[in-house]
Amino acid sequence: MKKLSLILLLVVFGFQAYAQEKGSVLIQNATVITVTGDDLENTDVLIRDGIIREIGQNLNALRGVETIDASGKFVLPGIIDAHSHLNGVDINEGRNPVTAEVTMEESVNPNSVGIYRALGGGVTSIHLMHGSANVIGGQGETLKLRYGTNQEQMRFEGAARTIKFALGENPTRVHGQGNGVQPRTRMGVEQVVRNHFDEAIDYKRNREAYLQRKGEYDRRKRGVPPVPVAQNLRYDVLNDIIEGNILVHCHSYRADEILMLMEVFKDYGIKNYTFQHANEAFKVAPELAKNGAGTSVFADWWAYKFEVYYSTAFNASILNANGVTNSINSDSGELIRHLNHEAAKTVRYGMTSENDALRMITINPAKQLGIDDKVGSIEVGKQADLAIWSGHPLSIYSIAEMTFVDGHKYFDRENDADDMRISVNAGTDFDDTSNFEEIISGRSDDACMQDTFTLTEANHQH
């Protein structure tokens, strides 16, 4: 059987897993949208070892460095999605109202083909978030979309630690109505936050006192030994929030609950946080600005549950006009492929400037994730996470043609292999692969609630 041997010989694919690479490339004659500065026409961008080294005209590439003629094209910083569940293994540890100890860092699926689709939309980083089932959910993980590497190599080194909070219907439905535990109401949500912060502060005092007495006892072996206070992962994380080492990203919709949480945070001295979704944030934009709170919203997605009816397509523009740092996110494996369109809507609806609209998908989410010193704009010294667009990125006709992370090209529309999956399942036959993952997943569900409606699939025992 010649055919068989052919099959056996052909088990080498066009696509090979990349190691985490830092690339060098010279992009020539592009319109460079720096975001933080002016747009620069007929401009070159020189990238060496993953860093933007020079921006200017008639730059020379070093020998062996790829040169790309981008005449007529646009260079935009890589889009950053501040709210994503794109490649989470699990999303919600939804059995307890507070699960600060869990982290999406340990729930990364590096093999999801959704990563590649996001690259195809010019996205280079995502904030992989825990879901919204819990008042205090798990910690988030900011990733660079280094498709083909492993979970460790996808981590965005130096990004701020983050955590998910959630207010309103989701936690009250899951825990109050679902499990009969606090919180059943919005009042209960506030109390859950306050109680846990107080417990965490108590724990810290007890733990530190014990460690001090233990040190003395172990040294001198005299007196009565201290009763050990076990390390508590959950309280450790809550204390890190109170001490400002972790940035809160809070799922929220209504203006009253947004105000409530800002009051709670004021009481505990917590600053530098972002409200996610925040459909009614426009009602309290001046208060948000005064507290230095950020928002990360949809352009025009609402009415998928009761608390999300009072909404407007002007939300982002109003927040922006009031000086709130606002980003536009996807919360969706589909929407993430065209966040440029979502940003463009703020220009269309709210007459936001083009530059401000682009900020909402680049430098603003970077600020909210603590990575704005590294990415989010095209500046010398920053990491070379960027995409080359066929036209102005806010045009409905423009598409991302190439996407780079650390100067390494992870997406190239011209050389786009037919099958970009990292792995296939040996047990799945060809005929069963056509629906292996829905490309268009629809916008009917709140992706934050992924895994929390599996009532009929009650058997998770494997």
Partner: protein, 451 residues
């Protein structure tokens, strides 16, 4: 026929003697057999003599003691060292069903969270047809764990017996079992931890609490003026992991999950043995660096149907070269797209079935475990291991005997049929890798079981 019944009578009387006169147990001898060793060497016309479960003599010239009950293999039987299952859940009580909803799913009792390290097979094993099935497949010894979730219990080594393996404890708690399985019950009746990340966090918390309890107990021994510790058998069962004194038998397959196990190991420093490890080959360098052995599963994904058909056609083509026209008519049309997919699919499948071979080649310490595989699939999977997995019969025997014995720490007693080892071996009617090879007798800890 006649010979057979004599043999049975002899065996029967032998066993009675063994039971009633423990001090002067007569010896047994199996003579005129072909003896296969783990290293691949074969001894023709061999004799094996054993008494009280210990092998006294082996070889062509072994002297048969005057008191021995002798079984004559009549030149045609093949003896292999008893196979060892490095991690099986035979005899385990079943997983709980119909769990009641909890008042506080976020703060469940230990068992509902899947945290049961205090459980021991020697206290809980039930009768199970798997024991006999295992012996009929050539196994005489197994490290047994219990079905469960993130911390299902201790792992203990047993001599197998069809009726009563529970009393055949050879070595107690050689390690603790673990996995990333979330708490049982699903959404309606489940509990924390319900996710991979939750299991990782909860495991850490259990380790912290065990550490604190152990310290409290130590302090209290030094000075009883302090409040006495609240004893907790679950946390106390974790002390061997906290103290790094017993390995963690961790059931894990994907390379991402193996990386997650590395994260926990980096934090707590315990020794670990990977159980199942279907994608372990992808981490072989790191496994070798960390000196982590793998008790590999051979519960492979079913061979892709189109590939099985190609192989079958290939075989029949060898046999008959005629009917060319008829054949070409039947030739399946495969599109380029499907062919491209098939190439990837077969690569994935080959990666799976060559896992053990790649691990051995990379210098990783590999043994065998059924880890939940249905024994009725064993023959089929072994065939795949031999035909497609790159292993020879010698490799397979070595894998299931000396290699496994060494990993679970019983190599002083098991793995080879040599003087001084435990009398655990199996009599086949033909070489074990031949089609329809059948086990006639299984000798486990010196006791003969007829099949």
């Amino acid at each position: 026929m006649k010979k057979r019944s004599t043999l049975l009578v002899l065996l029967f009387s032998g066993m009675i003697c063994q039971a009633s006169f423990a001090q002067t147990t007569p010896a047994h001898a199996l003579k005129n057999v072909t003896l296969h060793s783990a290293d691949g060497s074969v001894t023709q016309f061999a004799t094996i003599v054993w008494r009280d479960g210990v092998i006294e003599a082996v070889g062509n010239n072994a002297t048969i003691p005057f008191d021995a009950f002798v079984i004559d293999g009549g030149d045609s039987l093949h003896v292999y060292p008893g196979f060892i299952d490095g991690y099986a859940t035979w005899g385990s009580p079943e997983l709980p069903k119909d769990l009641k909803p909890l008042d506080e799913p976020g703060n469940p009792p230990y068992d509902r969270a899947g945290i049961q390290p205090e459980r021991k097979p020697s206290e809980l094993l039930d009768t199970d047809k798997a024991f006999e099935a295992g012996m009929k497949a050539g196994f005489t010894t197994a490290a047994l764990g219990l079905k469960g979730f993130m911390l299902p219990g201790g792992v203990e080594v047993f001599y197998l017996s069809p009726e009563n393996t529970r009393d055949g404890l050879f070595k107690e708690t050689i390690g603790l079992a673990g996995s990333f399985r979330e708490a049982p019950g699903g959404w309606g009746n489940g509990a924390y931890p319900s996710t991979m990340m939750g299991v990782m966090a909860k495991f850490r918390q259990v380790m912290f609490e065990a550490t604190a309890l152990q310290e409290h107990m130590n302090y209290y021994r030094e000075n009883t003026e302090m409040p006495a510790p609240d004893r907790d058998q679950v946390l106390e069962a974790m002390f061997p992991l906290v103290n790094k004194s017993a390995p963690f038998y961790f059931e894990v397959d994907s390379k991402e999950d193996i990386e997650r196990l590395f994260m926990l190991q980096d934090q707590f420093g315990f020794n670990t043995v990977i159980v199942s490890g279907k994608e372990a080959y992808a981490k072989s360098d790191e496994l070798k660096r960390r000196n982590i052995p793998v008790l590999a599963s051979i519960d492979f994904t079913e061979m892709p149907k189109w590939y099985a058909k190609t192989k079958k056609d290939e075989d029949s083509e060898k046999e008959e070269d005629s009917d060319e026209e008829e054949k070409s008519e039947k030739e399946e049309v495969v599109t380029d797209e499907e062919q491209a997919y098939r190439d990837r699919q077969i690569k994935a499948w080959k990666d799976e079935v060559t896992n053990i071979k790649k691990l051995i080649d990379a210098g990783v310490n590999v043994g065998y475990s059924s880890s939940g595989m249905d024994l009725k699939d064993l023959t089929k999977k072994l065939e795949i291991l031999l035909d497609e997995g790159g292993l020879t019969e010698k490799d397979v025997v070595e894998l299931m005997t000396t290699r496994t014995a060494q990993i679970i720490g019983v190599d002083r007693s098991f793995g080879n049929v040599t003087k001084g080892k435990n009398a655990s071996f199996t009599v086949f009617d033909k070489p074990m890798s031949e089609k329809k090879a059948k086990v006639l007798q299984s000798i486990s800890n010196g006791v003969i079981h007829e099949f």
